[in-house]
Amino acid sequence: MVTFYFIAAGILIVTLFFIKKSVVSHVLVFVSISMLGALCSYEALHLNLAEDSFFKADALGVLFLFVTLIISFFSAIHYIIYVNKRKQGERSVAIHNASFVVFVTAISGVFLATHIGMLWAFLEASTLSGAALIYHDRDKLSLEATWKYLFVSSIGVTLGFAGIMFLSVAASNTPNYIDALVNMAPQMNTGWLKTSFIFVLAGFSVKMGVVPFFTIDIDAKDSSPSPVGAMFSGPLMSVGFMAIYRFYQIYAHTTILEWMNHLLLLTGVLSLFFAAVFILKTNNYKRLLAYSSMEHAGLILIAFSTGVTGYFVAILHLVLHAFAKAGLFFQVGQVTRVFNSKIEEECGGYFKHNPLGSIALLAGLLSIVAMPPSGLFMTEFLLFKSLMISSQWWIVFIVMFLLIFFVYAMVKKFFTLIFIENKNAHPVEMVHPLESLSPLLLIGVVLFFGVVSPDFLINIIEQATQVLPGGGGVTIK
């Protein structure tokens, strides 16, 4: 099934590059999303079935595939609206749609890869296709963002490859299959493993949007169309997490587990700190969302570093954040269209122009700042509980202190946008209320999960954490 999916996606990509009719091109994108849906369903029913020496769908892979499926479906819908309003040329639609399918296919490859070399190759493919998506508007800002993204990502992914090489040194002649490496891990030289993990974490931070290579991720989300920003905040962040997780999965069976957790904690706290500094400074709504994504990526790493319950919390937080942030990006895309600006000083009184959209924004704000009944409140509560259980009181204090800045910045800027009239804000377009339904739906999912914890989600995350030391036996029910 996986091989068939990649072959079919390859044919679609080539076709999309040459299709001139935008309508046909959009239809083919939905065909590719349907194919991804079929793959997700098949893999969910055949969990852990190795169909090919390079691919196997484990619980985490299937979970992230479903997240990618849902967000890419809505992203494709919002892209049609985006491109129709801008009256974009057929050639740029063709390039975007082909790149979009490459991007989604590469992401799926990362989730399913069982060989770390293959995982790396798909990561690099996601960089190249991601660059084409950022460059969509073909203006000076998108060009600058694309150049920076492509260059820094390439450096990051190359450093990640060096990490793979160092793992190969430690693994002697063991083939680079994840399962084989997990079995071999206890006999590996820990010095090489530490070196490898530093390179992997630094290199793949590009994808997850955390310290050290976070800046290009912010620029990319700012300069690309909002539907692309949604893909970068959800599925691409999952890709970065998955890449780090696969190496963690191998090294967790060695004595460096605690050292890795310290490193993840440090990366998480630093990411939170830098995001807190910049979020107060920005007056751009898309960058505001991008820094908020960085904050959540930091929280995910902090949660993951606490182990046991933390593994569960990190994965659930990642999934819920992906939905909430995608919804917010779609909604902020509408704000940008209404005011022809994404700058705070040029927007205001949004409620008057788009009440349903404003409700979506408020619901999104509630979700993303982790206020009850948001599902993110539950995960952040569990994060603090994990930190307290492991007696990391200083970290609890620092994280809580930094979170205050995010709540302040988000609430202040969103309330200004929605409720405060601004004489510099000149609406140029009215948005149909129906366009706010999909953001509301995505954000509604996050709010729903805060009230009800569905068994299938809990079970699949528990299965995903079973491969980690102490994982799998934790429940939040």
Partner: protein, 209 residues
């Protein structure tokens, strides 16, 4: 023989540190590609035909012929060989890269790991850090791309130093990724020039306020 090739590779790194013209950079990267091919060919004795074809493709065809030709056609001819502004004086760069090579040798020698080959490891680490150095000290996007290619060459040597072969399909995917990333980078450099100069200091429009 291999030692001689690795020493030659080290000399290209030193030359890269003091190069002042685009054409020189491009030639040095092509020479590195040729040296990598010679090293690989001399090292891999019991190689199957498909791996040989792949290595030929990656080193001789892509690194020595296609990429330098592409860079020359797309970027250098427009600038008539183009001189690169030196941010750091040549002798400082020369000293830094010499120290990088010396420290790489020291590190490789001190590691005492049976799994790695000291000669290749020295060249690999030296190339990776020289590439990073080039990126840090230069302000032109062209030199940044040359730094990236140097790092790529270092990674190629690192895979030789470790000797753990990747399956053919992974090698092919890696090759295609590197090839296309350089092509796309080149195209974007060209576009970038239409808006502003190729100086990274000009790329400051994306900011928070």
């Amino acid at each position: 023989m291999i030692s001689l090739l690795i020493i030659s590779f080290g000399i290209t790194l030193i030359y890269l540190s003091i190069a002042e013209r685009m054409r020189t950079y491009n030639t040095l990267i092509a020479v590195q590609g040729a040296l990598l091919f010679a090293i690989t060919y001399a090292e891999l004795k019991d190689i199957d035909v498909w791996h040989l074809v792949l290595i030929l493709l990656e080193t001789l065809i892509i690194k020595v012929i296609v990429l330098p030709y592409f860079i020359s056609r797309l970027l250098i001819r427009k600038h008539g060989g183009g001189s690169i502004a030196m941010v750091v004086p040549g002798f400082v760069s020369l000293t830094v890269v010499s120290i990088i090579i010396f420290l790489s040798f020291l590190l490789s020698y001190l590691l005492h790991d049976d799994q790695i080959q000291v000669k290749y490891f020295t060249g690999a680490i030296a190339a990776i850090f020289t590439g990073l150095y080039l990126i840090i000290v230069h302000k032109q996007v062209f030199t940044h791309m040359m730094g990236y290619l140097t790092i790529e060459n270092g990674i190629f040597l690192l895979s030789l130093a470790i000797g753990n072969e990747m399956p053919l399909i992974v090698n092919l995917a890696v090759l295609l990724d590197v090839f296309s990333s350089v092509l796309i980078l080149g195209i974007f450099i060209n576009r970038l020039e239409a808006f502003s100069s190729l100086d990274v200091d000009q790329l400051k429009d994306l900011k928070d306020s």
